[in-house]
Point group: C2
């Protein structure tokens, strides 16, 4: 890397993040399940297969409309294991607390963790608590690591992607990022957008009967839908074609985004998932999702195409077409 | 808790730490393997047994004589799994980086992680990187979580402790805490003490042929040997008698500690372990340890006794006796 100092964009999920990971992490640890950077590592232990994943959470502010850092920390790791085709079973919980943190606020965060873990059917089984001085962290940072079991029938692999495969999204996009931004920037918006912080474990369970037709699942967090879709076809002979009119977006979220000039395709969700499957199974999965409260706004938003390999294009409302790229800098720091 | 704000001592490994965990964590998550607060959770997954543990590292400064935050983060979690009677196999690695962190320094830390992981025979298999603004963390915080397999023959349980059981320590105590303190406080000490940051996995492997005689193993980190020994007999009908003259201490470390009036029994080690076993096997384990470089200073430092139940006492150099208690406040913040 040319720079000699870490900048905010190194953590943003865009190009600089990806270079940091490639040049500094994969060069050292890439000869392991890390290679390919799956959402969760697939490991053999005592000759059985398990999934393992981790995330640290540094969201600011720690409370936002629709959630707080506690439920976010549970959902984030449960979702990584879910989209790797698994069922999360156990979580670790590691807290870094700032001296002076309000204990009632800590209790509120822990209550949210407890509630989210119950809903996701995971047990908090091990943990750690550190305290740092005032000004050495921003209230509370949380790390969770999770262990899960694989569903037997998902057949996830980028190499299986084919022309005409369908791209599904499980709900409105960009709500989490915009909710955090609204409250952090103290935007004067009444009844604004709420975070989508939620678990996708039931969506994955609903899709698993069609698992053999599913090629790819991911929760579009940092970098949003744009980053996920660009990553998947970056080295492919195929391209992606999206239809703007089919992308589910909450009206309030759209208003805020338009006001600020932000493209919601770049904004993080924390309770949505992208799924790519054989065209023939797409409607069945869509219908299964739409029966769940967290999938009621699910849509088929596009497909894999043979033209424009390696590129994501979108047909706009006005009938035009544009390329959807990955943001270079850091659009929304500390949203998770 | 009476306080309504987090103070540094909530993370110190002493009484306030233990109350925070009991009152806020165990009340919410205690109906799980967390109950009893083992070093690593013992879990059933796909009907086989695994060990799972986590630690966050916030040591200041991040480089100290004998190590840095990187090898510390590997050793800490490997050691938790080791003293739970297991062999660590896989680690997650989650970084929180401060904006402005020197990338050459980050590389040095990552190199130490790689080297320590190789020595410990663990693979880094999953990870996460977050960046926070300048002043929102202190250079770098690291979380590792680890998964391991159990050795079949350890028979660890506090309920098996018996009178005359021997207490072993694998090497000089307090080196890590004093090394960090010396450099942090810029004490004018030449050729001062070096951290003991190291893995105990080979010590556990050396003890495992005698596993059925081993009742307890732990690495004395925050709170030091005093905290570990007090915790183990706090609800017991037995007490502990230590012999000060048998406790291995580096001369330089002793000098610094005496100068500062610090009791090394309260100071963290990051590469030592305490083991309690049947008296009959103590010498065999001691000899096995002393054959390893990391065990060359190992000693039998005391035993379980029937008098003074629930208390740790020490026979001093001068022939007296005193109670060794757990520090109430925070002696040495941010040593791990």
């Amino acid at each position: 890397m040319n720079q000699d100092k870490i900048v905010i964009a190194h953590g943003g999920g865009g190009e600089l993040s990806s270079r940091l990971i490639k040049e500094e992490i994969l060069t050292r640890f890439g000869e392991s399940p890390l290679k390919g950077l799956p959402d969760a590592a697939s490991l053999t232990l005592n000759s059985s297969q398990i999934l393992f994943s981790t995330d640290s959470f540094v969201v600011s502010p720690i409370e936002f409309p629709g959630g707080n850092i506690g439920d976010l920390a549970v959902h984030g790791t449960v979702n990584d294991i879910s989209v790797a085709g698994g069922q999360a079973k156990y979580l670790s919980l590691s807290l870094i607390l700032e001296e002076g943190l309000s204990i009632p606020l800590l209790r509120k965060v822990l209550d949210s963790i407890q509630e989210a873990a119950q809903f996701c059917n995971v047990k908090i089984v091990t943990g750690d608590t550190k305290v740092v001085g005032h000004g050495e962290c921003d209230k509370i940072y949380i790390n969770t690591a999770g262990i899960g079991e694989k569903y037997p029938n998902f057949n996830l692999s980028k190499t299986l992607l084919e022309e005409d495969d369908a791209i599904l999204v499980s709900g409105n996009i960009g709500d989490h990022g915009m909710a955090v931004l609204t409250v952090r920037e103290e935007l004067p918006i009444k009844n604004g957008t709420k975070s989508d912080s939620a678990s996708v474990h039931r969506l994955v369970k609903a899709a698993h009967p069609y698992g053999e037709a599913v090629r790819f699942m991911r929760d579009p967090t940092r970098g949003g839908v744009a980053a996920v879709l660009n990553e998947i076809i970056s080295e492919s002979q195929l391209g992606i074609s999206l239809d703007e009119s089919s992308i589910p977006i909450n009206r309030k979220t759209r208003n805020v985004a338009e006001m600020l000039g932000i493209d919601l395709l770049n904004v993080a969700c924390e309770g949505r998932m992208i799924l790519i499957c054989d065209k023939k199974s797409a409607k069945s999965i869509l219908q299964a999702w739409q029966k769940l409260p967290e999938g009621k706004n699910a849509q088929i938003i596009g497909s894999l195409v043979a033209d424009s390999p390696g590129k994501v294009k979108i047909k706009t409302f006005t009938g035009g077409s544009r390329v959807v790229s990955v943001p270079r800098g850091e659009l929304l720091p500390r949203i998770c």
